[in-house]
């Protein structure tokens, strides 16, 4: 729950983003995330959810508006685990601490702890290709944890995983959220995941992305997996879903034109 009187961890004020090719990804987005919140952002694909995170992290700059980030350590978890295939699990987890110039012993200590937190203690010497998708994502999480970030940005981290793995990782991430006490902005296209994880769910419209809904999630932590099947949960998820759909049914104002693909993943 937001703690009153504190500076927001993240504040977007009328933030817009127009790319060089003329695509408008975000149109005047207002979003404030208080310290300790777990805010999920849902929206149709291509609505600028990822752009939101990229701006928050400084990977992109906003074309207009104001962005405030009150965290000197940011965790950024991509949909792809982005592990370096030539490094072992241990060396992968140490990477960010290495880039930040931490001394070797400290790197090692933090990596050991982070690996323990995600339960991969037996796999430190493995290379990523020997791990399952879920385990790779855990390594990616551990890697971010080594920097002890106050603010975590998640860009559809579990989008590529099967449902069982995804739900297990939802639980594990919530566990980390409760013990490590970070603020989280979690982009996803799954309404169930958004409602299950968050203190708040923000709904964005299709491109250009705007905030069209903001739902408070009343359930207490820790949340049991069966919460997903309770009536109250279904009701809230239904409302979020309706908000998403409502936007989709509204006729789009600008005439439809071929939109360039926003992100090109190079391999």
């Amino acid at each position: 729950m937001p703690e009153a009187g504190l500076m927001p961890a993240l504040a977007f004020t009328r933030v817009s983003k127009r790319f060089g090719d003329g695509t408008v990804a975000l149109a005047s987005v207002d979003l404030t995330v208080a310290p300790g919140e777990f805010v999920s952002v849902v929206g149709p694909s291509g609505c600028g959810k990822s752009t939101l995170l990229r701006i928050a992290s400084g990977l992109e700059t906003a074309t207009a508006g104001e962005v405030q980030v009150a965290a000197d350590k940011l965790g950024y978890v991509f949909q792809d685990p982005t592990l370096l295939p030539w490094r072992t699990v241990q060396a992968n987890v140490e990477l960010l601490a290495e880039l930040d110039g931490l001394p070797k012993q400290e790197r090692r200590r933090r990596a050991d702890e982070a690996i323990r937190l995600v339960g991969l203690g037996e796999f430190t010497a493995h290379r990523p290709r020997a791990l399952s998708g879920g385990m790779r994502m855990r390594v990616s999480l551990a890697r971010s944890l080594t920097l002890q970030p106050q603010l975590f940005l998640f860009d559809e981290p579990f989008g590529a995983l099967d449902e069982i793995t995804r739900e297990r990782l939802n639980d594990e991430l919530l566990q980390l959220f409760l013990t490590q006490r970070f603020t989280a902005v979690f982009v996803t296209h799954s309404v169930t995941e958004a409602v299950f994880m968050s203190t708040r769910v923000v709904v964005m419209s299709g491109r250009p992305g705007r905030v069209v809904g903001d739902f408070s999630v009343p359930f207490d932590y820790p949340r049991a997996p069966r919460l997903r099947f309770e009536e109250e949960f279904a009701h809230l998820a239904g409302e979020v879903s309706a908000c998403l759909r409502g936007e989709r049914q509204r006729p789009s104002k600008p005439p439809p034109q071929p939109q360039p693909v926003e992100r090109i993943v190079r391999r």
Partner: protein, 293 residues
């Protein structure tokens, strides 16, 4: 011939048959060794057979010099001390030319590719010239090199460099540029310098492609050294000059032997790089598999 090829088969089948029916156990070391080396060995025997067939059946005695039988090649070229020394000296010279030229091509090629990966304008300025090394008839320029820097070791090495630098440049550059955008983002987020990014991300990511380039270039270096040698015609004889000389003197046993030795050199170099690739990137990349038996 057909007997040789036929005999191992029934035995194998008899042994493999019931075992497979049971639970398909892991093939033993010997079986795996056989399955890797057996087929190429059989082809080798078949080629040897074909060779004898051509020498003794297709060619009559006075035309047999066109393809002397294998045992004559061995007797005259390898068992005669003088002839063998001549061949090995030539081979050694060409090997040194190939290796030095290849080493220069690696250093120069990787350096060029790194420079090109750092800025678009460098890539745009230099890449066409890298392509040029592929399109100009290098061998046609041999007389020119001879005039400029002589017919010695150096100009032969230069030919090798020009021959094999392109695959090094092209593959290294491709590898350096093949890093995923998310990986770059990760390094950007954590304020990595160009050097850190190059050393910890791009270069390791490029290694499989670099080694692919090296395998191709290694083969070209051997060809460049031998063929270039043939074209120089002057100076200390490498294996190429020897081939040329044997041909003009109709010493076909030695000519065939020289060709066999140069092929062996190419194969050894290719294997070595397959082995090296396996050692360096085999633990994390699949490409290391394609190195042949």
């Amino acid at each position: 011939m057909s007997m040789d090829m036929g005999t191992p088969m029934p035995g194998d089948a008899a042994m493999a048959g019931p075992a497979q029916a049971a639970a398909r156990p892991r093939p033993s070391r010997r079986e795996r060794w056989l399955s890797v080396w057996g087929p190429p060995f059989l082809v080798f025997l078949a080629m040897l057979g074909l060779w004898y067939f051509v020498s003794y059946v297709l060619l009559d005695v006075d035309r047999r010099f066109l393809l002397p039988p294998p045992h004559d090649v061995v007797k005259i070229s390898f068992l005669d001390r003088y002839n063998l020394a001549e061949l090995l000296d030539g081979l050694w010279l060409s090997t040194r030319v190939a290796f030095l030229g290849f080493a220069i091509a690696i250093v120069l090629g990787v350096a060029l590719a790194i420079a090109m990966s750092q800025a678009r304008w460098i890539e745009r300025s230099l890449y066409p010239y890298a392509v040029l090394t592929q399109t100009i008839p290098i061998l046609a320029m041999v007389p020119l090199f001879g005039l400029w820097i002589g017919y010695s070791f150096n100009s032969r090495t230069l030919v090798v460099v020009l021959f094999c630098i392109f695959p090094v440049v092209a593959n290294t550059l491709f590898g350096l540029q093949s890093v995923q955008r998310e990986h770059h983002d990760l390094f950007t987020l954590h304020g990595a310098s160009r050097l850190t990014r190059l050393w910890k991300l791009q270069f390791p990511a490029a290694l499989p492609a670099v080694f692919t380039g090296l395998r191709i270039a290694a083969g070209l270096a051997v060809i460049g050294a031998i063929v270039g040698d043939t074209f120089f015609k002057q100076g200390a004889p490498g294996i190429g000059i020897l081939i040329d000389r044997y041909q003009s003197r109709l010493q076909s046993e030695q000519m065939v032997a020289a060709i066999i030795l140069s092929s062996l050199l190419g194969i050894v170099v290719f294997w070595f790089f397959g082995f090296l690739t396996q050692r360096v990137v085999g633990s994390w990349h699949e490409s290391a598999g394609d190195r042949g038996p």
